[in-house]
């Protein structure tokens, strides 16, 4: 499978048909996905109809759009009209949404074909895609290992070359961390840059949809398609996001880039730190100045996140009560039915976070937990803003380690630590992305994270492109 940019060009010029590109994608999935388990459901009829429409446009001399004929996979927490949308939870088994998420309309309007829905940690709660009611997804680089999570299915679908593009959602690192573990590019845009309408909420103030791609250019192409104001989402930013494609190759000469001190120490593996330092050198080689910068409040990010996100989740997930849709387990009265349905329908991690969040919002505890976490969030935002007075971009590892063995992290706290580098961007609402940069001592992919100020995706992508180009020419990074 070629990349999205070249594939779209070939489809637009009539060199290749969307139908063939789609068939190739389904063939790749059929060949390997029994093992990988990236997909929960394939949307073949819809994709084939869309591919035919794209080919028809090309035949008629019309331009089907910048993603013409590009197969794309969607994390299964994005509502897809008439197709199963499960969030990898038993509680939504059998439910078919009557509407499409806004991103789907944008992708199809740009000519993309939606091939199917990918596996995730239930309701996007997890960092390994092991918390799925439909079994874990395996890392295409080593199938004994996790792909990361929660968007593990979307990351694996791109890493396994099923599709050149996929969408995930990122609440605390759920795009960037699996991107790092699967050796692909993953982008968390500015909060509000991409519509959340139709994304089944985990933590509404943190959730953001973004692309996975095999390369930085494809990720930029996809982000430029899916971003933009949506009147259906009140948190959608009213101004259009500056396109990332036009300046993609502008380089980093003259940029000031800071390496976040607090994310380069304890808890981060040595090989990850080594690759991050090499990435910094590559940026210097491209003309940027790189310095260390301290953002002290980031060390409280994890604690604040594990109060705010569960608090919002406890409210967002209340609606799964067996009354209107999805699974219902009968009970003697409505309250008993609610309890029986939720007990049977939710997995352990979801229940754990609902309880945590319920507790954090309870009267008498609100100020000590949720209230304080919100103050930490404000502090982190302020410190980032202060840092961006002196720096154009920031740099850090994406994940503390390479992909770990399935089942290796049974302690929830050990899994929560996976998000330590990625959470601060969600709390601040700023964009960040993971770019593959070499491999670890175990030969598995490592990603570095580029962080940018609010709405400065274009600048972030320039640095990502420089890193991508350097990774392909740096001996130790291109292994």
């Amino acid at each position: 499978m070629t990349n999205a940019f070249d594939l779209a060009a070939a489809v637009r010029s009539g060199e290749q048909s969307a139908a063939n590109a789609l068939a190739a994608s389904y063939a790749a999935i059929a060949a390997r996905d029994d093992e990988i388990n990236a997909f929960l459901h394939l949307t073949k009829a819809r994709a084939q109809a869309q591919a035919a429409a794209v080919d028809h446009k090309v035949a008629g001399g019309e331009d089907p759009g910048p993603l013409a004929g590009v197969p794309i996979a969607l994390k299964d927490n994005m509502c897809t009209r008439g197709e199963p949308t499960t969030c990898s939870s038993k509680i939504l088994e059998g439910w078919r949404p009557p509407y499409d998420a806004t991103v789907i309309g944008r992708l199809e309007a740009a000519g993309a074909t939606i091939v199917g829905k990918t596996n995730l940690d239930e309701f996007a709660m997890g960092s390994s895609t092991e918390n799925s009611a439909y079994g874990p997804t395996r890392n295409p680089h080593d199938t004994s290992r996790v792909p990361g999570g929660s968007s593990g299915g979307s990351a694996a679908a791109v890493a396994a070359n099923y599709v050149p593009l996929s969408l995930g959602s990122d609440t605390g690192g759920s795009i960037r961390q699996p991107a790092a573990l699967c050796g692909v590019v993953g982008v968390k845009p500015t909060y509000g840059a991409v519509s959340r309408y139709g994304l089944i909420a985990f933590a509404s103030s943190l959730d953001q949809i973004g692309p996975f791609a095999t390369n930085v250019t494809d990720a930029a192409l996809c982000l430029d398609v899916i971003s933009g104001h949506d009147p259906m989402d009140a948190t959608s930013i009213p101004v259009p996001l500056t396109p990332t494609m036009p300046t993609l190759n502008d380089g980093v000469a003259g940029m000031r880039i800071g390496i976040v001190d607090e994310l380069m120490g304890e808890g981060i593996d040595d090989d990850v730190i080594a690759r991050t330092n090499e990435a910094a050198q590559a940026l210097v080689a491209a003309g940027a100045t790189v310095e260390r910068v301290s953002i002290p409040a980031t060390i409280y990010g994890l604690a604040a996140y594990y109060l705010i996100a569960p608090a919002e989740a406890s409210s967002n997930l209340a609606r799964f009560d067996g009354v209107r849709y999805g699974q219902r387990v009968e009970g003697q009265n409505v309250a008993a039915m609610n309890v029986a349905t939720r007990t049977a329908g939710f997995g352990d991690e979801v229940k754990r976070r609902i309880m945590l969040g319920t507790y954090a919002l309870s009267s008498g505890y609100y100020d000590a937990y949720y209230g304080k976490a919100q103050r930490v969030r404000t502090l982190i935002s302020n410190e980032f803003q202060a840092a961006y007075k002196n720096f154009d971009l920031l740099l850090s590892p994406t994940s503390p380690s390479t992909a770990f063995e399935i089942g290796a992290k049974s302690d929830p706290m050990a899994l929560y630590m996976c998000d330590v580098c990625t959470i601060p961007s969600n709390l601040a609402g700023h964009p960040s992305m993971s770019v593959p940069f070499g491999v670890g001592d175990d030969g598995l992919p490592i990603g570095v994270q580029v962080l940018a100020p609010m709405l400065d995706e274009a600048k972030m992508f320039r640095a990502a492109k420089v890193l991508e180009d350097a990774a392909s020419t740096t001996p130790e990074a291109s292994a």
Partner: protein
């Protein structure tokens, strides 16, 4: 009022009034805000709370809420939506989007016709729930065999107006609610129909010894569907509290259900086992931040409100403010003020507004109303005739003189009346003798005969005068 409670006790009442805003669409989606449609026809992913759906505030609803706030003399401030979390099947998201710590409207007041000012703590925006019908059992959710839910009402915009606990009688509470209704109708932000549920009143009732300023344990009485029920429910509840206190017992803080047929309240959920609502700012909705210009525009466009209209009318008609309530309620105050301005007798104008214009002014113009009052004053029409002409003016408009002449309402000559009276006296000598002896009860007999003979054209006052003259003469 004084005899509702035993001597020495005073009731303390605070009201929570929910009003549905008269917007075309719901608070957070484009579904129709309509009463009485087929169940579950005005619904969409957002008001059904489907996974992935998001709310977007209805600008008209926010505007109406601020208008109402200003009409209640509240401070309008930047506000945030909050989630009130609890499970209930007619609440699609299992949380209600409302306002908690920072409501749109705070600290206002409502002036009642008698001049009393009732403090309003807040008037916040929230979404309505759907409507449940519990089948089987006692019609309550816990013992129902099935529950049917209509989500048409889910997401309808509401403003909850919370008064301070400053009312001390059912009469004042009723006057407050009546005044709120008039304000809602005057501003047009709600149709304020208690019977259709577009205005719903919950009463927080407690009692205390007269002279005390303490606030004792209160009960919240729900399911009050009319002003009459409101008065009954408050008095019942206050008496119940006094009975408990005087028996050495005390009320439990709880929600109670008013049973209109039984004339009593029954316990609902106790506050002890009530949910912890876990309020927090709704992350899907940005704060509402009205500018001073927005607020100024609302104030500039504010229609005349009942209190100000009562004052204007009282001044024009030279009466007490309390005597203007009915006229203002009927929306006749502008007509009456104008007709007085045009030179008509104020007493006559007020009398007709109170007695003969209960359905509103219809097609009646200021000019024709003034002319009619003049015709009545100079005796060219009898009061019965004035009523008939007035009804015609309300129905179809026109000039009172033309209508009077079309109806043959030429004032009768006194001499004509006198000869008519003489002939009736001749026909009924016994009755006349009784009248002359002072039996005034037979007066109606003669007036009735004359009215019948003249088809109502005679002026009753003139007939009375003639009879008295003849009897004395």
């Amino acid at each position: 009022m004084s005899d509702v409670l035993p001597a020495g006790w005073e009731m303390v009442i605070g009201l929570e009034v929910h009003v549905e805003l008269a917007t075309k669409t719901k608070l957070f989606c484009g579904c129709a805000n309509a009463f009485g449609d087929e169940p579950n026809t005005n619904i969409c992913p957002t008001c059904l709370g489907l996974p992935g759906s998001l709310p977007v505030p209805n600008a008209q609803a926010v505007d109406y809420a601020m208008q109402l706030g200003r009409a209640l003399n509240c401070t309008v401030s930047p506000s945030i939506f909050a989630r009130k979390n609890y499970f209930y099947p007619d609440m699609p998201k299992d949380f209600q989007t409302t306002q908690y710590e920072e409501p749109t409207n705070e600290e206002g007041f409502v002036v009642l016709p008698d001049g009393t000012s009732i403090g309003v703590e807040r008037a916040h925006i929230e979404e309505d729930t759907g409507k449940s019908t519990h089948l089987g059992g006692g019609g309550r959710i816990h013992d129902a065999t099935a529950t049917l839910v209509d989500y048409n009402r889910a997401g309808v915009p509401l403003v909850e107006i919370v008064s301070h606990p400053v009312m001390h009688s059912a009469e004042v509470a009723r006057a407050y609610v009546a005044e709120l209704r008039d304000i809602l109708l005057a501003t047009g932000v709600s149709d304020a129909r208690m019977e259709e549920g577009s205005m719903r009143v919950d009463a927080n009732v407690s009692v205390r010894p007269v002279g005390s300023t303490e606030l004792r344990t209160r009960c919240e009485v729900k399911n009050i569907n009319s002003l009459r029920s409101l008065g009954r429910a408050i008095n019942y509840e206050a008496r119940r509290h006094v009975d408990l206190w005087t028996n050495g017992d005390e009320p439990k803080q709880e929600t109670r259900h008013w049973d209109e047929d039984g004339g009593r309240s029954t316990p609902g959920r106790s506050k002890e086992d009530a949910d912890d609502y876990r309020y927090f700012a709704c992350p899907d909705l940005p704060p509402l931040v009205p500018t001073q210009a927005d607020i100024d525009a609302i104030d500039a466009a504010m229609p005349g409100l009942p209190a100000a209209r009562r004052a204007t009318l009282a001044e024009a008609a030279g009466v007490n403010v309390a005597d203007t309530t009915l006229t203002v309620e009927r929306g006749l105050d502008r007509l009456v003020v104008a007709v007085i301005g045009a030179g008509a007798d104020a007493g006559a104008a007020m009398k007709h507004a109170d007695q003969n214009l209960s359905d509103g002014q219809g097609e009646l113009s200021v000019e024709s109303f003034a002319a009619l009052i003049a015709m009545e004053a100079d005796g060219s029409l009898s009061s019965t005739q004035v009523k008939t002409v007035l009804a015609e003016l309300v129905a179809n408009g026109g000039s009172p003189a033309d209508i009077a002449s079309l109806m043959g309402f030429e004032a009768m000559d006194t001499s004509e009346l006198e000869s008519l009276l003489d002939s009736i006296i001749a026909d009924s000598p016994e009755e006349w003798a009784r009248f002359v002896e002072g039996d005034r009860k037979v007066q109606g007999f003669f007036v009735g005969k004359i009215m019948k003979a003249t088809q109502g054209k005679a002026d009753g006052k003139v007939v009375n005068q003639l009879m008295t003259q003849k009897a004395e003469g």
